[in-house]
């Protein structure tokens, strides 16, 4: 998805072009991405049918169908239409809309899969993390392929990242820990077959998630105070900023992975104690 968005943005001139035939690459990545989405949807359909359930009963399934339709509308006209000029505007809008929908659906699916419940706060926490990862990727792309408007766009993306990381990940996650996890999930994990999921993974997660808002804030403040000419001309500064954005993205993805391990251990513990 990232490659499709990057090559699409290069074709539109939003970010600086790299060498090679970008259109061909965009088409190739689009086909791969479409095949992956189709495969995921068929797999999901197969799993639901095994349980005798309709795929459209769940929000995850409905969003999956929307994603599949958007992908089909993106790929098929792109391959069949000879004059794509009239279709270009809609193609661009749907392309940019696809990324957040996919993140929301993937977060939703992940937590439905591992928690098998409807914990709204955990879902909000998870979606915030997924969107923060998306915005950090956006910041990285703006820094790596700078144009005159890249700095202002990277600033806006960094403000949203700080908000998502602080409100969605830090506060919502912390509130869930205090009101739900400590009383409901933690005892189950400790009694279950994987107590290390709390003693090591959760303890590590609740400690290092303190670092994330500080890193995001430092990145945002630096982007806000950086001079546009330095941003455009000084490769050293841009490399330094990319490094910090990569660090923040790495921690967000690590949080995601640890969250999945903890949720899975909670579910396994619940089943073991039945």
């Amino acid at each position: 998805m990232v490659y499709v968005v990057i090559t699409g943005a290069m074709l539109r001139g939003r970010i600086k072009r790299s060498s090679g035939n970008i259109f061909k690459l965009h088409k190739k990545y689009g086909i791969y991405f479409g095949a992956f989405i189709l495969g995921s949807f068929i797999y999901g359909l197969w799993i639901r049918l095994q349980h005798g359930e309709s795929i459209l009963l769940s929000v995850h399934g409905r969003l999956g169908l929307v994603i599949l339709l958007i992908v089909a509308l993106q790929v098929i006209p792109g391959l069949t239409l000879k004059n794509r000029a009239t279709y270009r505007g809609l193609h661009k809008i749907m392309g940019y809309a696809l990324a957040p929908i996919l993140i929301i659906d993937a977060s939703w699916g992940l937590y439905n899969g591992v928690i098998a419940g409807t914990k709204n706060l955990v879902l909000l926490h998870s979606i915030s993390g997924g969107l923060a990862a998306l915005f950090l990727t956006w910041i990285i792309l703006e820094i790596r392929y700078p144009t005159k408007r890249s700095l202002s766009r990277a600033r806006v993306a960094s403000y949203v990242t700080v908000f998502l990381v602080t409100a969605g990940c830090w506060i919502a996650g912390g509130y869930n820990y205090l009101t739900s996890y400590g009383f409901q999930v933690k005892p189950v994990i400790l009694e279950g077959p994987y107590p290390w999921a709390h003693d090591i993974v959760m303890e590590l997660k609740e400690h290092i998630f303190v670092f994330l808002p500080i890193i995001a804030l430092a990145l945002s403040v630096t982007l806000s105070t950086l001079d546009r000419d330095i941003f455009l001309d000084d490769t050293k500064s841009r490399r330094a900023l990319t490094m910090i954005a990569y660090l923040a993205l790495f921690i967000v993805l690590l949080m995601f992975l640890m969250g999945a391990v903890i949720s899975n251990a909670g579910q396994t513990g619940t089943e073991a104690l039945k």
Binding site: I200, H207, F211, S237
Partner: protein, 105 residues
């Protein structure tokens, strides 16, 4: 802006000190208890400490030119590398302490 790494330097200092607070509170149950008594939960106290340290470092670096010069906050490459290194070392340090404690129990 010549001293664009002020917030990165402050983040590095805050994460370094907070990392040590976390390791200390994992090793000392009394310290953990005293942190928990501050706000009701130890991680909330650690969060507050991290924010206070970040703001204090930021104010210190903004207020004192000598501190900025001594810490070379004009060098954005130096401080971004330090931030990455300090964060990863602290994450690995905390992980090592938690694994040791788990295995010793």
């Amino acid at each position: 802006m010549k001293e664009s790494a002020i917030s990165i330097a402050s983040a590095t200092i805050a994460i370094f000190l907070t990392g040590w607070v976390i390791i200390a509170h994992d090793l000392s149950p009394d310290f953990k208890q005293s942190l928990a008594s501050l706000t009701g939960n130890h991680w909330m106290s650690v969060s507050v400490i991290a924010i206070v340290l970040f703001i204090l470092s930021l104010e210190l670096l903004i207020g004192f030119k000598s501190a900025r010069r001594f810490l070379r906050v004009y060098d954005i490459s130096l401080w971004s590398t330090s931030l990455v290194a300090v964060t990863l070392i602290m994450v690995l340090g905390i992980l090592a302490v938690l694994i040791t404690q788990f295995l010793s129990h």
